[in-house]
């Protein structure tokens, strides 16, 4: 995938998902892993995970993808194409009263959110199928989800504990 195409992909995926790093996953996974094979699923998941364990805006994991494919220029440009649309707020600030109460604009946002839940579930299942291939992996996934969602531990802590459990289990259950 050429640098221009990568940047165009990131730019449009970011716009279409209102800058949500997680909601971008189905689009990017489809384009970068399934269609073009520019990245392996492992690489892609690593990039996504990096985005979750670093602070700040969550869509900046595209910089990791940019780095994997094109080094430093790729990383910087990838970050730039998801940051620059923020400038849309300047023209918007002018006539916002009209927009804020516009039902269609609101509906657009709700429609996008609703569709993205379904898409995200679909790609979670899809990715899960090729990632959760050993009993250990399944245990790590379920455990991490429990730590994150039920105990509400910080992402970094949940990932660390899940990983430690995975390393320990791998010693006990070979393969």
């Amino acid at each position: 995938m050429s640098l221009e195409r990568l940047l165009l992909l990131l730019f449009t995926a970011n716009l279409a998902t209102f800058g949500s790093g997680r909601v971008m996953v189905p689009i990017l996974e489809n384009a970068l892993v399934q269609q073009s094979g520019a990245l392996t699923l492992d690489q892609f998941l690593f990039a996504f995970t990096v985005g979750r364990i670093t602070p700040g805006p969550a869509n900046l994991y595209v910089a990791s993808i940019g780095w994997m494919l094109y080094g430093l220029p790729g990383a910087v440009l990838a970050a730039a194409v998801v940051l620059v649309p923020g400038y849309l707020i300047l023209p918007l600030a002018a006539g916002y009263r009209r927009l804020q109460h516009n039902g269609a604009v609101r509906g657009l946002g709700r429609g996008l959110t609703a569709a993205s839940v379904g898409l995200l579930l679909a790609s979670t299942i899809d990715i899960g199928r090729s990632t959760l291939v050993s009993p250990t992996a399944v245990v790590v996934c379920v455990l991490t989800l429990f730590l994150l969602h039920v105990l509400r531990l910080p992402t970094l802590v949940a990932l660390a504990l899940g990983s430690v459990a995975g390393i320990a289990l791998a010693q006990i259950i070979p393969g």
Partner: protein, 236 residues
């Protein structure tokens, strides 16, 4: 990086550090009411006007956004820090002005935090302000992201990498599942939204339709079909 580093993320104090970042409908942590009465905030800026305007220099702006960018927990937590610092502490703009900008930023098809940074940067520093704010909010994320990616590439082919299938990769699936759960709560309402989600799910998984296409369709159909009810919080 810069010398006088702001305190680490832990200093966010009561900020919702573990708030699911995908919960846009639950705006901001309830802030203390704006000191009822004109008794004057203790030690507040002498005679600070109620409106926007207490000047914030470019460097201060950069440090402020750098600090917000260091907060873990997604955009909402960053926003909470900006609100605390600019409205409560510096009184550089009013709460309602800030919230109006925040509302606008949520409409921007890009990160809300990014748009908010541009809006606030413009307010306090014009165009240089926007650049400084963006840089500040992005650097704390960008630098570790690149560092970790370099680390990942440097361990290719080493035994370290054999551990990934039982550690970070299944954990990443858990992150995704957790995202589904927290965004899903946003949609679980007796409206057409669950139908949208179900159709998108089926079309993507069973029919293999391009997710980008489905997303745009969802947005367009939403603009027509979901305009009625006020889009308020998931459970109120």
């Amino acid at each position: 990086m810069s010398g006088g580093e702001p305190p680490p993320p832990g200093a966010a104090g009561g900020a919702p550090a573990v708030a699911p970042a995908g919960a846009p409908a639950d705006p901001l942590p309830p802030a203390p009411p704006p000191a009822a009465g004109a008794g004057g905030p203790p030690g507040g800026a002498p005679g600070a006007p109620a409106g926007a305007g207490a000047p914030v220099g470019l460097w201060a702006l950069f440090v402020l956004f750098l600090r917000a960018g260091m907060i873990f927990g997604g955009g909402l937590a960053c926003t909470a820090v900006l609100l605390q610092e600019l409205v409560d502490r510096r009184k550089a703009l009013t709460r309602s002005h800030f919230l109006a900008l925040y509302g606008l930023a949520r409409l921007i098809p890009s990160g809300t935090t990014t748009a908010l940074a541009v809006g606030l940067g413009q307010l306090f520093g014009g165009f240089p302000g926007t650049a400084v704010a963006l840089l500040g909010i992005a650097l704390p994320s960008l630098i570790p992201t690149i560092a970790l990616t370099i680390f990942y590439e440097s361990v290719q082919g080493s035994p370290w990498l054999d551990l990934l299938p039982v550690t970070l990769l299944p954990a990443a699936v858990a992150l995704l599942a957790s995202a589904v759960l927290s965004i899903g709560r946003e949609v679980a309402r007796p409206t057409l939204e669950p139908v949208f989600a179900a159709v998108a799910f089926g079309a993507a998984l069973a029919l293999g339709i391009n997710p980008g296409v489905l997303l745009v369709l969802g947005g367009l159909l939403g603009a027509v079909l979901l305009r009625g009810e006020p889009a308020e919080g998931p459970r109120r």
